[in-house]
């Protein structure tokens, strides 16, 4: 079964550093998402991406964050100047056009900011 692949599975970074989280969505999917889950809390929407641009973003997704689809296969989340409170699991998801029920999540990247 097709999968959404996320790398790395775990990243440790120092406060103030920049990190890039990588995702490879399912190849025939056209909508891409990033979600965040702080330990012990609910999963929160960050951003959706379609047709090479952001289609929606939450209030969490401020200027510290950016997304990119640099090469037609990867979908990245960049976090600039990381803060301790950015420590969380970050999930990438994708879906087919017209398939609202067809969300597929990746296995997540655990980001630890120290």
């Amino acid at each position: 079964e097709p999968e959404v692949t996320q790398t790395p599975s775990h990243q440790v970074t120092q406060m103030g550093q920049e990190v890039i989280l990588r995702c490879v969505p399912i190849s025939n999917h056209l909508y891409f998402y990033w979600y965040r889950q702080i330990l012990g809390q609910k999963v929160e929407f960050l951003v959706s991406f379609y047709n090479n641009e952001i289609s929606e973003k939450s209030e969490i997704f401020d200027d510290q964050f950016s997304v990119e689809r640099p090469d037609g296969s990867n979908f990245t989340l960049k976090i600039r100047s990381t803060k301790l409170e950015d420590s969380a699991m970050y999930f990438c998801a994708s879906r087919k056009t017209g398939g609202r029920g067809g969300y597929t999540f990746g296995s997540g990247t655990r980001l630890t900011v120290v």
């Binding site: 998402y33 929407f45 959706s48 929606e56 029920g101």
Partner: protein
């Protein structure tokens, strides 16, 4: 804004028994999707079951079924013949037809006792 409420932070069930996890949501929309996701200790988000609001018939997937009460805005998950591998966090989620961000409940931690 749509909200999803899971009123049971923790539930426990004996192996081979049946357990029901509760979920309610608040929306003014008539068309939407509802989901149950399972998150094992690996923290991957695994789709268990989904329901389209326009369908009156309750969705079923093997041992998993839902009781969808649209008027009451209730979407409970029933797990029959519980297995040790069912132990996980379970998240209820809502997805509007009109936007992209999936809203999650706070989760229910299910323990399965042998």
């Amino acid at each position: 804004a749509q909200t999803v409420t899971q009123s049971q932070p923790e539930m426990s069930v004996q192996e081979a028994e049946t357990v029901t996890l509760s979920c309610t949501y608040d929306t003014s929309e008539s068309d939407y999707y509802l989901f149950w996701y399972k998150q094992p200790p690996s923290r991957q988000m695994i789709l268990v079951i989904r329901q389209e609001a326009y369908k009156q018939q309750n969705a079923t997937e093997n041992r998993f079924s839902v009781n969808f009460q649209k008027a009451a805005k209730s979407f409970s998950l029933k797990i029959s013949d519980s297995q040790l591998g069912d132990a996980a966090m379970y998240f209820c989620a809502y997805l509007s037809y009109n936007n992209n961000d999936m809203r999650f409940g706070a989760g229910t931690r299910l323990t399965v006792k042998p």
